[in-house]
Symmetry: C2
DNA sequence: CATTAAGTGGACCGGCCGGTCCGGTTGTGT
DNA sequence: ACACAACCGGACCGGCCGGTCCACTTAATG
């Protein structure tokens, strides 16, 4: 139903596109807490126009975050074709991290509250799926330890992004070190540093998230 | 000057104590975003009384967070006398993590915005100091890699707490795994997984935070 | 008990934010 | 050119939150 409900008028379509563009760039730069007033202003339209296209701010966020997550999936799938398996996984994480430093939208959305939204949960599941493929491949062909899963890596990543945001004033070399430490943790010897519990499957995640 | 500016009246002292108690427990349970109205109500006083004791909500938060950070330091110093060095460091981190899962106040405060406040910055510096002592001792006598510093560990920890908060719906075994992964990263072989850059000193941190 | 200054708390203020509404505008089919 | 529906946008609403104010209460003192 996003295709065309009833053929928008030319100006309406243009305004909708501007809105999406403005919201995307503002959410990226400053996170999901930017106000609707600012988004409408940046798009050069009134607030009423925003709410005619998206019934609530939440809907707007869901639409844009899902789109951004899809982009990430795209890139992840490209990297699945890369030569070395380790490289693909870490390249993916490094790229995402690099983006998140100037793009807080997706990181903000990886969170209990937003994962309750269906669109975001679906897009998120897709991301986990791609990440799982990257992790599995790296485990088979690379040096990544066998006892972790996509969800473990995603949590590490989410933590790294949050920490990076909290210490934004520090220069980026700290972030580089954190990324290296993340790498160290998921390439460590599983015998020397055993993990408690087991990594959850996607189904378990969905079940938990719905509850 | 917190001792006694002018000898409080009995009821005033009692109300102040109630406010601190209520604010501490609410901040712990639900983070720093709880409203002043709720705090005053929980303390059984009016909002005016709250603002007479603390000029702003920010002042209230600063006072309470500094106190909580001091408590953490206390515990850290106790553990410095513990038998094994590794154990002390990880016991400290595990305890803090366990607390943070039901005590969001300190985690919320480890953040650019709040570290700008002098009291919090001072208390935070103290925490980093204790953590540095624990790390250094573990490096000398334990298996912790030599190329990390207190700040690296603190960032890992902050990340872990943020991720835990974001995925609060999942059962705690995921958090245990993350803690184990943290341990893996800081006990990994520095040659096999080298780190870029260098860990910052406390002085560099202060300089960066003031700017 | 009387006096008084310290203390109290709830009404009130202003600003912010998500969301609604409607008088005016503009694209579009005839 | 006309008419009409689709569309626009800013004025407006209600709720929330940090913070102020002042008429009233109460602890301390002699």
């Amino acid at each position: 139903m996003p295709t065309e409900e009833r053929q928008l008028r030319a100006d309406a379509a243009r305004n909708r596109a501007r809105l999406i563009e403005a919201a995307t760039s503002l959410f990226r730069e400053r996170g999901l807490e930017v106000g609707v007033a600012e988004i409408a202003e940046a798009a050069g339209v009134g607030r009423g126009t925003l709410f005619r296209n998206f019934a609530s701010k939440e809907d707007l966020i869901a639409a844009i975050v899902a789109e951004l997550m899809d982009e990430a999936c795209e890139r992840g799938r490209e990297l699945l074709d890369a030569a070395d398996a380790d490289g693909a996984l870490f390249e993916f994480l490094a790229e995402m991290l690099g983006r998140q430093q100037h793009d807080r939208a997706v990181t903000d959305a990886i969170d209990d509250t937003w994962l309750a939204r269906e669109e975001i949960r679906d897009a998120h599941a897709e991301v986990v799926g791609v990440l799982d493929a990257l992790v599995t491949r790296a485990q088979r062909e690379g040096t990544v330890r066998g006892d972790i899963g996509a969800m473990d890596v995603l949590m590490l990543f989410k933590g790294l992004c949050s920490a990076a945001a909290a210490f934004a004033h520090l220069d980026s070399s700290l972030i580089d070190r954190q990324m290296d430490l993340l790498r160290a943790s998921i390439t460590a010897d599983p015998v020397a540093t055993p993990l408690r519990g087991r990594t959850p499957t996607l189904e378990q995640l969905d079940a938990a998230e719905i509850s």
